[in-house]
């Protein structure tokens, strides 16, 4: 049986979706304080912020708390010289954390990816599915997975994971 708090809903986070090329990303990184991974399916994290590679020109900018205002104006200014799309999706999705020694096995109940540390190392992130829900899966530590899922799928994903975790 997994630990009591193996499944946790994270506090509301702030999120921006940036679609742009590497030059624009470099300009955004200077404001955001976290570089953008040019390697596919990798996240970078620092000081309560992160960037997640979702596609060659698509990154999720994630900030763990909504207490601090998003630097929208500064980003817009930095990105102005570049063709880009920056959209606030803070409320579009919620974050869950699955943790503990059983975390990967529980996720394997509904996610078809190879979640071994070799195939899915720490800081790997990708779009995938959890049964019938689309998610972004991000390994933040060997036994820690961060799930981003659209808000209306939260109840389904939570119930699904709890069902899978039963013996």
């Amino acid at each position: 049986m997994p630990d009591a708090d193996w499944l946790r809903v994270k506090p509301p986070a702030a999120r921006l979706l940036l679609q742009a090329d590497a030059h624009a990303r470099a300009a955004a990184a200077a404001v955001w304080g976290v570089p953008f991974s040019e390697e596919s399916c990798r996240a970078r994290a620092a000081a309560g912020r992160a960037t997640l590679w979702l596609g060659p020109d698509e990154h999720l900018m994630w900030q763990e708390s909504r207490e601090a205002e998003l630097p929208i104006v500064e980003l817009a200014h930095a990105l102005a010289p570049f063709a880009h799309s920056l959209v606030d999706v803070s409320h579009r999705q919620i974050a869950l954390e699955v943790s503990g020694p059983e975390a990967a096995v529980i996720l394997a109940g509904a996610c078809p990816l190879d979640l071994s540390l070799q195939a899915f190392p720490v800081q790997m992130c990708t779009r995938t599915v959890l049964a019938k829900a689309e998610i972004v899966l991000w390994r933040t530590a060997p036994e820690n997975f961060h799930i981003e899922v659209w808000r209306s799928f939260q109840a389904y994903v939570e119930a699904l994971l709890r069902e899978i975790a039963r013996p």
Binding site: Q19, V87, R92, G109, A119, A133
Partner: protein
């Protein structure tokens, strides 16, 4: 347990356990199968055959069992038919019953079929039941359906849980016999992840029932124990007993069905019954073994006639002598060992009837010196007995016996290899098909590719793993001490089979005899696929594991062709049946599909809303007051919007943010509208077509900035519109600097509609003037509501003055409640999707998918005003220019009004030009939407009618059972045709 040996076997003899079969109590031991426990009690008769209802006994000791199919029940809901007794693990108080018999197993009325069998030849369905023609539906088909099928499926819902898991490994080994274990041992230290699965309760395969050989100086069971302990201690090795690899899918995706609780005395409640493993394996080693091949001779289906290897297994693994007096019929040396072992255990061996001219290897001499009578060149003329064999007639001898043990050699189990699309080749030496060319990263090892000697099997398994993982070291060598055996094979019917009056069975489970196959070939069925379907040979649940090769051989002989030219039938998944529950897994009840709810869902629940499913969404359908009917509720909600103000949750509408310097160009190429003329701060009704020119989706599009559009879609259309946009963006126009982001769930959307809408919102909105002049119809702007950031649309899907408040979703409920409270003085009324549908229909606004059906152009739907005349291209334009798409007689959107002013038309009803027609009627249209509770005072309907716009004022007819409803063709706009109210 009269037939239990005093010692030996892998059963736990400390505590006998009780079970029942057909209501009679018996005893067995933990470690027994139902079959071994029945045999220990001397029970051979366990079922009736499918077609002739002949008595049948336990035939094998494994998955190839064609006869011993039973129903095992724990309770009414936990009842499983057609289980092979040879694979059912015994547990305390197990309850099993036989099948396909009435009133009892010993006396079965259906046995009459056996006497009538000359009237029931192969293909008799097709011959007998063709006349009279009318009788097929009323008489023959129902009767055949009643007689068809084995066992009864439970009618209660399945109370068990079923788990599923995806798994990945570098090496999947299917089958934990000697080859599989050698493969796993070889790979174990390489760092690779290994899964070793086996369908049986214990891993070990043939080693579990063969005490003779020694491996590396240990006896076989000691070696097995040590090997499994070593594998079990390796964290990279997953051992899965009770796990059947049932299906082999592309790219080494293999389905495993693991049975978790079926063997337990009383499974703890809540524990999953089975687990479906979906394994993606870099390499697969199939070590599925071989099935012993039965022999075909007259009367070869009496209870007591079984495979020699099965008798060997029952003796050594379960400590059961299958009978008191045995005759062995064989073509290979393994059965000699069985004869010797049975004799040592106290069973009298009447003779070894060897069909070979001069016997086999050293075991022949051993048998002779043990005093066993050996007959060469043997054949069988017939058997005696009714519900159990009592004797067998050989060419010159008549022998009494209570078991006849046969061995026709082995048939490699190539099911999974064949499922993997590997190529088989015929081996004359083995008289069998064996794997030849693999289609996947797959290797077969051991008996499943025709290698039968233990030393060779172990080496083959080790080699397969070493090659699969490209290990740069020599695979381990296994030292074997075991007497040499000659394993010859025999194929087809023994000489004389099919000539006497007795039936010689080829397929026991489907009652197919040598004569059926001969008849089929005489009647012109020459392809094995045709013979199979005509005679049903090999089509039973055992998939012809024991019968296919013999059947092919007989057909080949009849046709005078070599077997490879007759061909092989296809092997299909599942290898053995898999429960439906296993496939369903967690996708049941509440978890069958995600249930999506909006931010105001909980509020609507507290208001007593009735919800409807819209795709995966739950939307408030209507908000009844206590005791209020749906009709009354909808009428009240509509009235409130027309006269006062209503509030409606539109959050499920799809939203896509289209951003980038080329955003307008992108929108111009996709949508029919001209977006260059849309200024930031304004919105426009947009239409998206498919390439064929038909309406695909619609919605209000807002221009938030020069380079930013906020596109709304229908609720159901959101994913497909985004997919279509992405498809064009990435594949057709990759040079455009534009990007798409789904924002459907970012925003909660609160529609406030009605003449008082502005008065309700004005006190709440700051940073924005929402007055009629400053913020006219089709405006959009950012501002604040209740101090929270907001994007406000002035739009209306009701025909009234209306706003749609977009706030970040987490604020949705708070803002909703604030608006609801502020509207109290104006009698604000929450309304649901039904009222929304009525209100929009009164205005003639279409719903994509209701008025349109995938064959409507914008003009058909009355929307040609939205199509930009100035544009030279957009998706669908070229199709719209085809003459047929511009015909004046296409179905066009109209209003339909019952002439009596009372009748509510049925949605989907047809529309005719003339009344009282007889079929085939000439129909010119259909009703797409129809509502009784309207605010215009009479029921209204929308319809698509051929040339409809030229028919205004005409009388048409809606034919219904027994009458035609007279309707008048009207404009689809029933309410406020000048649009005064919307611009208020």
């Amino acid at each position: 347990m009269k037939f239990r040996t005093p010692s030996g076997g892998r059963i736990d003899r400390r505590q006998p356990i009780s079970f029942s079969f057909d209501g009679k109590a018996y005893q067995g031991y933990p470690g027994d199968t139902l079959a071994s426990a029945l045999l220990a009690n001397g029970v051979h008769l366990v079922g009736r055959s499918f077609k002739y209802h002949r008595p049948r006994g336990i035939f094998s000791a494994g998955a190839d069992e064609p006869n011993a199919l039973v129903t095992v029940s724990r309770d009414g809901a936990r009842s499983t038919p057609n289980l092979r007794a040879t694979q059912v693990e015994l547990y305390r108080n197990l309850t099993a019953i036989s099948q396909n018999r009435w009133p009892s197993l010993e006396f079965d009325v259906g046995r009459i079929n056996d006497s009538l069998s000359r009237f029931l030849p192969a293909g008799f369905y097709y011959k007998t039941f063709m006349w009279p023609r009318g009788a097929w539906k009323s008489l023959y088909e129902p009767a055949i359906r009643r007689a068809a099928g084995l066992g009864r499926a439970p009618t209660l819902p399945d109370p068990d849980r079923y788990a599923q898991r995806y798994a990945h490994c570098e090496l999947l080994v299917i089958g934990a016999g000697p080859a599989g274990i050698a493969a796993a041992l070889t790979a174990a230290d390489s760092g690779a992840r290994i899964i070793l699965c086996d369908e049986q309760a214990e891993l070990g395969g043939s080693l579990l029932s063969d005490p003779v050989p020694s491996i590396d100086g240990k006896n076989s069971s000691a070696w097995l124990e040590a090997s499994l302990a070593k594998l079990g201690a390796n964290p990279r090795v997953t051992l899965l007993p009770r796990t059947t690899a049932f299906g082999y899918f592309p790219h080494n995706f293999v389905g495993l069905s693991q049975r978790l609780t079926d063997h337990l005395d009383s499974p703890p409640p809540g524990l999953a019954r089975e687990r479906l493993w979906q394994v993606r394996a870099r390499n697969v080693v199939i070590a599925a073994g071989a099935a012993e091949r039965p022999l075909i001779f007259p009367g070869n289906d009496l209870p007591g006639i079984m495979l020699a290897g099965a008798a060997h297994t029952y003796l050594h693994r379960y400590g059961v002598r299958v009978g008191s007096k045995a005759v062995i019929l064989t073509c290979n040396d393994d059965a000699y060992q069985t004869a010797l072992d049975l004799q040592a255990a106290g069973t009298q061996v009447g003779a070894i009837a060897d069909i070979r001219p001069a016997g086999g290897g050293p075991l022949t001499a051993a048998a002779r010196s043990a005093g066993i009578n050996i007959i060469y060149n043997a054949t069988v003329q017939g058997t005696r007995g009714d519900q159990r064999i009592t004797g067998v007639t050989l060419a010159n001898t008549d022998l009494d016996c209570d078991v006849l043990l046969m061995s026709g050699g082995y048939t490699p189990s190539v099911h999974l290899f064949s499922q993997s699309r590997g190529k088989l080749e015929w081996s004359d030496a083995l008289k069998a098909f064996v794997p030849s060319v693999s289609a996947e990263a797959e290797r077969s090892a051991g008996a499943c590719r025709g290698i039968y000697g233990l030393e060779e099997v172990l080496a083959d398994g080790a080699n397969a793993a070493a090659h699969a993982l490209q290990l740069n070291r020599a695979p381990p060598v296994f030292e074997i001490d075991s007497p040499e055996r000659r394993r010859d094979s025999f194929l087809g019917a023994l000489p004389g089979a099919g000539t006497s009056g007795s039936k010689s069975f080829v397929d026991w489970q489907h009652d197919v005899t040598t004569r059926d196959l001969a008849l089929a070939t005489r009647e012109g069925f020459h392809s094995i696929e045709h013979v199979k379907r005509y005679t049903t040979t090999g089509m039973a649940t055992d998939q012809g594991k024991g019968s296919n090769l013999n059947a092919m051989s007989i057909v080949a002989q009849q046709l005078g062709r070599p077997i490879p030219q007759v061909g092989l039938t296809t092997f299909r998944m599942p290898y053995t049946p898999v429960t439906f529950g296993s496939f369903a897994g967690i996708s049941r009840r509440d978890l069958f599909d995600p249930v999506r709810t909006t931010p105001t869902h909980a509020w609507a629940e507290t208001q007593g809303a009735v919800f409807e499913n819209v795709g995966l969404w739950k939307r408030a359908h209507y908000f009844p007051r206590p005791g209020e009917s749906m009709h009354a509720t909808v009428a009240r909600e509509c009235r409130a919007v027309r006269d006062g103000v209503g509030i409606f949750d539109a959050s499920t509408l799809g939203k896509i943010e289209v951003v980038g310097p080329d955003a307008a160009e992108f929108m111009n190429r996709l949508y029919v509208n001209n977006w260059n003329t849309l200024k930031p701060g304004r919105t426009r009704y947009g239409i998206l077509l498919r390439e064929d020119g038909f309406v695909y989706d619609d919605g209000v599009v807002a221009r938030l900035a020069e380079d930013r559009f906020h596109v709304t879609t229908t609720t159901g259309g959101a994913p497909r519109v985004l997919a279509m946009m992405e498809d064009y963006r990435q594949t057709e126009w990759p040079q455009l600097k534009v990007w798409l982001t789904s924002t459907t769930e970012q925003w909660a959307v609160i529609a406030v509609q009605g003449p008082h809408a502005r008065k309700v919102l004005e006190p709440l909105v700051t940073d924005l003037d929402i007055g009629a002049a400053a913020f006219p119809h089709m405006s959009v702007a950012r501002g604040k509501i209740c101090g929270l950031p907001m994007m406000l649309f002035r739009v209306s899907f009701t025909g009234e003055l209306g706003y749609e408040i977009n706030v970040p979703a987490d604020f949705g409920r708070r803002v909703w409640e604030a608006v609801y409270a502020a509207g109290a003085d104006f009698g604000i009324t929450a309304y649901g999707t039904e009222a929304m549908h009525v209100l929009r229909a009164e205005k003639g606004y279409i719903i994509v998918g209701q008025e349109t059906d995938g064959t409507a152009t914008p003009d058909d739907a009355g929307l040609s005003w939205a199509v930009a005349k100035s544009k030279t291209d957009f998706v669908g334009l070229r199709s719209l220019q085809r003459p047929a798409m511009q015909s004046a007689n296409r179905k066009q959107l109209v209003g339909l009004k019952a002439k009596d002013g009372r009748t509510v038309l049925e949605e989907g009803a047809q529309v005719a030009e003339r009344p009282a027609q007889r079929p085939p009627m000439q129909l010119i249209g259909h009703v797409t939407s129809s509502y009784g509770e309207t605010t215009v005072g009479y029921p209204i309907a929308l319809g698509m009618v051929a040339g409809g716009r030229a028919r205004m004022g005409q009388t048409l007819y809606v034919p219904m059972p027994g009458r035609d409803i007279e309707v008048e063709v009207t404009s689809p706009v029933f309410y406020d045709p000048q649009g005064v109210r919307i611009n208020a």
